[in-house]
């Protein structure tokens, strides 16, 4: 599945992680996909949950094995 936009949030911490994803998703249309590169720990525990709360669908979570993950988010996928 091909993403429409890519965002790296491995250099920021909560709540800027979610802030950056939220603003990036605002730039997309419903049905478009955002690929997010994020850290293990607090970001991967909380970010997907917050995204679901706002009506977006997590299409896939890939553990890259280096302490980071790749997330594919479908904008508005749950609304």
């Amino acid at each position: 599945m091909k993403a429409d936009d890519f965002l790296d949030i491995t250099d920021v911490v909560c709540p800027i992680t979610f802030v950056k994803i939220k603003v990036a998703l605002e730039e997309l249309n419903d049905g478009q996909i955002l690929e997010v590169h994020l850290n293990a720990g607090e970001p991967i525990q909380n970010v997907p949950r917050s995204l679901k709360d706002e009506g977006h669908k997590i299409l896939s979570v890939e553990d890259l094995g280096d302490g980071t993950f790749t997330l594919l988010v479908l904008k508005g996928g749950l609304s």
């Binding site: 709540p15 800027i16 979610f18 802030v19 939220k22 603003v23």
Partner: protein, 271 residues
């Protein structure tokens, strides 16, 4: 509209996280223009919270200078500012707080002859009445009705405060509730009119909240209601007020079509 910088994403992160705000809403706030008439008890906290929120253009109207007796409640001014013009003191506080805000200052008292020009100067979106006297309150109401501008009315005295929001064509105006100026002997003299300093904070901050909600287009404004606050009993009352079909200024057939300067001795202690 420019994209938010990394610094702005961080500064306004607690706004952006809110479902009703987001990056889009924060950009609306950064583009907003709010005029604050009076930088006293009500205007000072309103201006500070709106500046912190990132309101891009804030207009300050005041002709007075900072007095030692103001500092118990007018928190935008500091002890070092005594003797300085309030609009300059306000500008300095806002500039130190948030570089995203552009401050426009008007060193004058609002009158029938200048209020239109002041409101039109930046084509303000929302106006906050932070004045301390009835002639100004009636003038601001009439000007906002005639210019079709949304605004927040408020007043504080002793342990009491009140506020309401006006939106053109949608809600009653101040004159629908209070058709004419009160008789002069009904207005407390300066000596009788103490005010607990925090009253401006509570009510002025509600005015700032209304300005932000109006700019964002979220929630329900305090239109069609007068909110009263009694700090002694800690009672808020939200009183439903109807539109006056015969209102002298906002009805279909108004008798007031030009602005009027009313006369009344104003309290030298300020709001």
């Amino acid at each position: 509209m420019d994209n938010l910088t990394n610094e702005q994403l961080e500064r306004y992160s607690r706004h952006i996280i809110l479902e009703q705000v987001g990056g889009i809403g924060q950009k609306k706030i950064l583009d907003a223009k709010v005029l604050i008439i009076g930088t006293g008890g009500l205007g000072a906290p309103a201006a500070m919270y709106l500046a912190a929120a990132g309101v891009g253009h804030i207009g300050l109207v005041d002709y007075d200078t900072v007095d030692l007796s103001n500092l118990q409640r007018q928190i935008i001014h500091q002890t070092k500012d005594i003797g300085k013009a309030k609009i300059e003191s306000g500008r300095e506080t806002i500039n130190e707080m948030n570089p995203d805000v552009q401050v426009h200052t008007y060193s004058e008292q609002v009158t029938a002859s200048n209020i239109r020009d002041i409101i039109n100067d930046q084509n303000y979106d929302f106006i906050i009445d932070g004045t301390d006297n009835f002639p100004a309150k009636f003038l601001i109401n009439d000007a906002c009705v005639l210019l079709k501008k949304a605004y927040s009315h408020a007043g504080i005295i002793r342990f009491q405060g009140q506020t309401m929001t006006y939106v053109p064509d949608k809600s009653p105006c101040y004159r629908c509730v209070f058709p004419t100026m009160p008789p002069k002997d009904a207005v407390p003299t300066c000596r009788q009119a103490g005010v607990l300093g925090v009253m401006g904070g509570v009510i002025g901050t509600i005015q700032a909240t209304e300005a932000l909600k109006y700019v964002l287009g979220v929630g329900e404004l305090l239109t069609g209601y007068l909110l009263t606050y009694d700090a002694l009993t800690m009672t808020f009352r939200k009183i439903k007020i109807p539109r006056n079909k015969k209102c002298a200024v906002c009805s279909k057939n108004p008798t007031i079509t030009e602005l009027i300067d009313y006369e009344q001795p104003t309290c030298s202690f300020g709001a």
